[in-house]
Symmetry: C2
Subunit: 313 residues, 2 copies
DNA sequence: TTGAAAGCGATACCAT
DNA sequence: ATGGTATCGCTTTCAA
């Protein structure tokens, strides 16, 4: 039993296919109550479900957004995806999500795949490169990463990082390390801003991956080097979690503040003081740009300090 | 500039559209080297990208699987999704992912949406109910949940839970609590099995949500009740993380073993001893069933104990 | 080896 | 208010 088509519905209801279409879509022509009733009945009896594929071909739009993240397992990206999905649903759009494992080739393939599927818009979360749109005319928004010719939405990294480090300074720390991943230049700048302003030296930097392993690795090094560091600012939640593990293992006390602010940072021990990315606001902006098809622009939202125990408060 | 179509490519290359199709798909007819070259050239120059929507309409298959999870932010589901995506990609399928926020109505809507898009198969991760396929003929696999008439893939919950609890018993614990979420009946059974066999009483049960909050809540209650409990088996990583937080806050020592085994459980403190769901194996089986379109069957894989510090080892 | 053309399911204009 | 029908982009059979 292959799927029921609109033709069968029309036949069963004794009307033309046009009428079925009018009923299903609520227009563009009016339909008599009697005919509408018969069509509805036919749809119910036959279990008809419109073929979105055919519809998309005809109308040229899928009302679908593609969303590509490097890693669905990263809680920040998961939060972002969730928020974007919700915001898009409110506007009647569906979001199709995939991830790339951080591999640029996979990223290219997924972009091509979604483009081939005629998505109406594309969201790239920290993409590794500018996408090859090959003449396709669709809105594209990069999240947490600036890309030439593409709209971008993100937090105010520099300002947020600065706030975080200022808080550590306020706690009286004199030697504050930075743990940062690739692409964290703005956060690094914010760290430097705060230290510079306070007349502290910005000389302990650990450059590692953005994940838990990276943070752990940085933690081991910090513990091993005995640089007199008493506090750390890390560029991601996950790094913070990794740091905590290294500090626990070594039995050292160290104040930590991180960027991002996902649930995982709230439930580790000690709970991490974070500078929280305004995920909901960012998602709303992403969807707005996609729906309205604005010209490329870069929008950054303030990130808010959420104080928990890891900073010493 | 609207997207380039196959017609334009054909015209530019001076061949028929059939030839373009043959070149793009590598068949079903052979094409002379000269013509192929001209077509390839035209595709490159024009920036042609086949319309997957139109192709799907014609061939009746999208080579796409839909994947629905209650929550993309749950690390277990994220791991699962990643693994399924990878396994599907190996077979030439694309996975389109969405989540439902655990809301049955949203779940129904997403199922309908994916069905309308003509997905070639559907994966439902811990669905809240049997999906309404309305006559659609496509393979459906439920993960971590049994559903009438639908294939299912999951870990051996009962056996895994038993192993976990046995390990706690081996450590000498006499009073072992259970923290469990809705739908955790099998895990509960495994807990009872182990306790019963050892002649211990199975009387401390906290029924809470599956998330971090649920675990935290359970932890607070366990700490408050002073039941002589010295160890806990929890039905999910997230619950374990929540428990840890409550125990830390109260300053109590408590052995913990949990089900799932995501990265988050490895990086919390103390690192959680887990019974790990064999995510990769499960993903491979899910995709196998989808691709081969087998008749509904229930497959369960052994879960492995991974010993870390939280059990006292 | 290649071209013409039918048809996938749905939309919406042009008639009636 | 309703029906007939051309059309969206692509695949593939049938003929040449």
């Amino acid at each position: 039993m292959s799927p029921v088509t609109r033709n069968q519905v029309a036949e069963y209801a004794g009307v033309s296919t046009a009428v079925v279409s009018y009923v299903v879509n609520g227009g563009p022509r009016a339909v008599s109550p009697a005919a509408r009733e018969r069509v509805l009945e036919a749809i119910r009896v036959l279990g008809y479900r419109p073929n979105a594929t055919a519809r998309a071909l005809k109308v040229g739009s899928t009302r679908t957004f593609g969303l590509i993240t490097p890693d669905g397992g990263n809680p920040l990206f998961a939060e972002l995806a969730k928020a974007i999905d919700r915001a898009a649903a409110e506007r009647g759009y569906v979001v199709l999500q995939t991830s790339t494992d951080g591999d640029p080739a996979t990223e290219r393939a997924k972009v091509a795949e979604l483009l081939a599927r005629q998505v109406s818009g594309l969201v790239l979360v920290t993409p590794s490169e500018a996408p090859d749109l090959a003449g396709a005319e669709l809105p594209v928004v990069a999240v947490n990463r600036m890309l030439p010719g593409v709209s971008s939405v993100g937090p105010r990294y520099r300002e947020g990082a600065r706030t975080a480090v200022e808080h550590l300074i306020w706690h009286g720390h004199k030697r504050i390390a930075l743990v940062v991943g690739a692409g964290g230049a703005e956060r690094e700048q914010g760290w430097r801003d705060a230290l510079g302003e306070a007349g502290l030296s910005a000389d302990v930097v650990e450059r590692v991956g953005f994940g838990r392993e990276g943070g752990y690795e940085a933690g081991l090094r910090l513990v091993g080097r005995r640089t007199g560091v008493t506090a750390v600012f890390a560029s991601s939640d996950l790094q913070g979690v990794g740091l905590l593990r290294a500090f626990h293992e070594a039995g050292v006390e160290m104040a930590v503040v991180v960027f991002d602010g996902t649930p995982e940072a709230e439930y580790c021990w000690p709970p991490l003081t974070v500078v929280r990315q305004p995920v909901e606001v960012m998602a709303a902006e992403v969807v707005r740009q996609l729906v309205e098809g604005v010209v490329p622009e870069a929008v950054a939202f303030p990130a808010e300090l959420v104080v928990r125990r890891s900073c010493g408060c």
